[in-house]
Symmetry: C2
Subunit: 125 residues, 2 copies
């Protein structure tokens, strides 16, 4: 019982990221690397019921509705949030699996190393 534990660093520091994994992850990170989108994500996630109406979000910024809509689309395309129309309003909620994937990249691991290669962890929820 020696070979399966690797008490080291964050996932990103385990082994060099493949070119395609890096490109993939960069897309997700780009989506989140903007002050407005960070706040949107945070507002949606911390809103009562776990979801927020676009109207609530728009009011919280000094930006036009098209701009907010654009940012929401970026987050949605990256799989970080999910939107649903109910009547006149559209409600967005966080997709925890995708958000967690980002966290796993940079969070130090103290657990035993997985049986599968790193790729598996990156791609799976």
């Amino acid at each position: 019982m020696a070979a399966t534990t690797t008490p080291c660093c964050a996932l990103i520091a385990r082994e060099p990221l493949s070119e395609t994994d890096a490109a993939d992850l960069a897309l997700m990170l780009k989506a989140v690397a903007d002050p407005v989108r960070l706040r949107l994500l945070s507002m949606i996630g911390s809103h009562a019921g776990g979801e927020a109406c676009v109207c609530d979000l728009t009011d919280a910024f000094d930006l036009t509705a098209p701009t907010i809509s654009h940012h929401l689309k970026v987050l949605r395309t990256a799989g970080l949030i999910d939107g649903e129309r109910r009547g006149t309003w559209v409600y967005y909620r966080i997709v925890p699996e995708t958000v967690n994937r980002l966290g796993a990249l940079f969070t130090p691991l103290t657990e035993p190393a997985p049986a599968q290669p790193v790729d598996a962890e990156l791609r799976t929820a």
Copy 2:
């Protein structure tokens, strides 16, 4: 024994990010939201001895030395890596505290809520 535990979501979904925190974090995330910089970070972190020479990194890409140097500067400015010159070569290593801060943002918390407000966690290592 009721008020101090909040078994909820990631830090980012705890409460709405302040405007300044969001701007601050976006800077760090922008630094990492690029395929080349992600791979650089990964290569540095996973390299033997926890550090890598610029020459090693440059060889791994189809990019010119100035471009790699530019990306390293972005990572260094964001506080994600730290460089040191030893003789002819310059060696870079990861700054784990900064990297961990990113992870904490998106990683779900199952621990008791902190005594300090969320701001404290975002700013501290």
